[in-house]
């Protein structure tokens, strides 16, 4: 699962890092680092983390990667 956090919105409430610590990590008091591609095993925790974000800054793939194949083909 691909994900991205809008760090302009993020205010460091760390809810994601509490609930899915293998995907999100606080770096210092307020900075957030995350794994942009999470393992399938993290799906439920990732959903919890995204829902809990007080500023709704976490975007998780709405599309399975293979469903939208990308190639250089015309």
């Amino acid at each position: 699962m691909r994900l991205v956090v809008d760090l302009n919105r993020c205010q460091g409430y760390a809810q994601c890092a509490f609930l899915a610590p293998d995907v999100f990590a606080m770096h210092g008091e307020e900075g957030l680092l995350y794994t942009p591609e999470a393992d399938e095993a993290q799906r439920e925790k990732l959903a919890q983390a995204a829902a809990a974000c007080p500023v709704q800054a976490i975007l998780v793939d709405a599309v399975d990667p293979p469903a939208e194949a990308v190639s250089g083909e015309r």
Binding site: M1, G31, E37, V70, E73
Partner: protein, 463 residues
């Protein structure tokens, strides 16, 4: 009537071409589909990869938390697009409505969005730039190559340029326990974006984390060994640094060369467009079918005197792409202006730095909350007696308040007490930005992908 019918036809069976398959291009494409665009969509990108996120390249990727090949952007929805990746656009025929590709193909469009972004400014001496161990950091390939080299534990890394990207790279290297020298032409890191007062805090932060920070110097030459590997850098103060990895972090160049001669108002400063994201041609006349979004765009902003701003900001790319996509499918009265409040972030040496507004316009700064010495503070920038920008070090939750101050053009310095206003925060001081009227940028000028430092203001529209 006629207009409505042709818009309806555009939505149903029109051809939209997006040049630039990164953040802005992807979000624009998704917005088009969300708005009901059912025609053909072609995404053209010079890199052979699907859209990926760049900010992690200087953080998670260098720290080894994520592979450079695993930063692809999540999708909001399926796109049903034709992807032409790894094939740069090389020309534009405005009259015929066609984009030329490097492989000789031509792609016709009814609406074109240009989101070609910027690229890293290379080391100016081509032969030295070719040395093994000399890197820039902008693309996924750059990130992968640099991460690989850092994993080999070089004896010393030299970062040229202490803008945001350079500083983040230095931070990641220190966290990995690597020896780092940073060479910066200005008096401190981040001065181009945040001024000397805040730059001094950034300098302390770097030194405290063990960075060998050299300010007020330029790198004059890179020296290779017999095998073509970089071994040393020579500095303008006569000193030299032995190093096996050099990262050139001198800001960015706009990807507009492919538009040369097309008649579009494009140049080294980017592509000028109106507040609705429509590109100007070289005569200063706005086009109807060509839109611009992201780092490559320059557009007028109501809050900042309608001056043309170019913003190399992640949030700007998203917002401008959405506005451009909306406007492409809308009649003139339904179009929206791009009025995004400039904002950026940087994470370095364990500190979260965030900013709103345009600090670089500021002439003065006052610390309204916290203290510089604690490295936890809000600095407010003033310009002609009003609040124009703010920066927060580990104080992100207060920034929405300062955004409101900027939006409501509150006087500077803000006269009120705050929950943590210290004696040092009673009087504004000179924000200490380098003189913007001096356009010379030597090789160590410090610009970065997330920095507003190279926002350019001009009172002449396109040309």
């Amino acid at each position: 009537m006629n207009g409505d019918a042709s818009l309806e036809q555009l939505r149903r069976e029109g051809r939209v071409v997006i040049v630039g398959a990164s953040l802005a291009g992807l979000r624009a494409a998704e917005t088009l589909r969300e708005k009901g665009f059912a025609g053909s969509l072609t995404m053209i990108g010079d890199e052979p990869y699907e859209p990926y996120d760049r900010p992690p390249l200087s953080k998670q990727v260098l720290l080894g938390m994520a592979g450079a090949d695993r930063t692809a952007l999540p999708r909001r929805r399926a796109l049903d697009a034709t992807w032409r990746l790894g094939v740069p656009a090389t020309g534009l025929d405005m009259a015929a409505g066609r984009v030329r590709l490097a492989d000789g193909d031509e792609v016709p469009y009814d609406r074109l969005l240009i989101a070609t972004g910027v690229r890293a400014r290379p080391w100016p001496h081509a032969a030295e730039a070719e040395l093994d161990g000399v890197f820039v950091l902008r693309t996924r390939d750059d990130g992968a190559a640099l991460a690989r080299r850092l994993a080999e534990r070089p004896k010393r890394v030299l970062v040229i340029g202490a803008g945001f990207t350079g500083s983040e790279i230095a931070s990641a290297c220190r966290e990995r326990g690597l020896a780092v020298t940073v060479a910066e032409r200005a008096a401190a890191p981040l001065v181009g974006a945040l001024g000397g007062v805040v730059g001094a805090v950034a300098a302390e932060l770097q030194r405290e984390h063990g960075v060998d920070l050299r300010c007020g110097v330029m790198v004059t030459a890179l020296e290779g060994d017999a095998t073509g590997r970089v071994r040393a850098a020579h500095l303008s103060d006569g000193s030299s640094v032995e190093t096996d990895v050099v990262i050139v972090s001198l800001g960015a160049t706009r990807n507009t060369e492919w538009l040369a001669g097309s008649g579009l108002g494009a140049g080294p400063r980017g592509i000028a467009c109106d507040a609705g994201c429509r590109a100007f041609d070289i005569r200063g006349i706005v086009t109807d079918d060509i839109y611009v979004a992201g780092d490559v765009a320059r557009s007028p902003h109501a809050l900042f005197g309608y001056q043309f701003l170019s913003l190399e900001h992640w949030g700007n790319a998203v917002s401008q792409a959405e506005t451009a996509a909306h406007n492409m499918l809308s009649a003139s009265s339904d179009r929206l202006p791009h009025l995004w409040m400039p904002a950026f972030w940087s994470s370095q040496f364990g500190v979260n730095i965030k900013s709103v507004g345009v600090p670089t316009l500021g002439t003065e700064i006052v610390v309204s909350q916290g203290s510089l010495a604690d490295r936890r503070f809000v600095g407010v920038y003033g310009y002609q007696g009003r609040v124009i920008g703010a920066v927060a070090f580990d104080h992100a939750r207060w920034l929405p308040f300062y955004q409101e101050l900027i939006e409501t053009t509150v006087p500077f310095p803000p006269p009120f007490p705050t929950v943590d206003r210290r004696p040092e925060g009673r009087r504004p001081v000179d924000a200490d930005f380098p003189d913007p009227s001096v356009p010379t940028h030597g090789p160590t000028v410090t610009l970065s992908g997330y920095s507003p430092a190279d926002r350019r203001m001009t009172f002449t529209p396109a040309h």
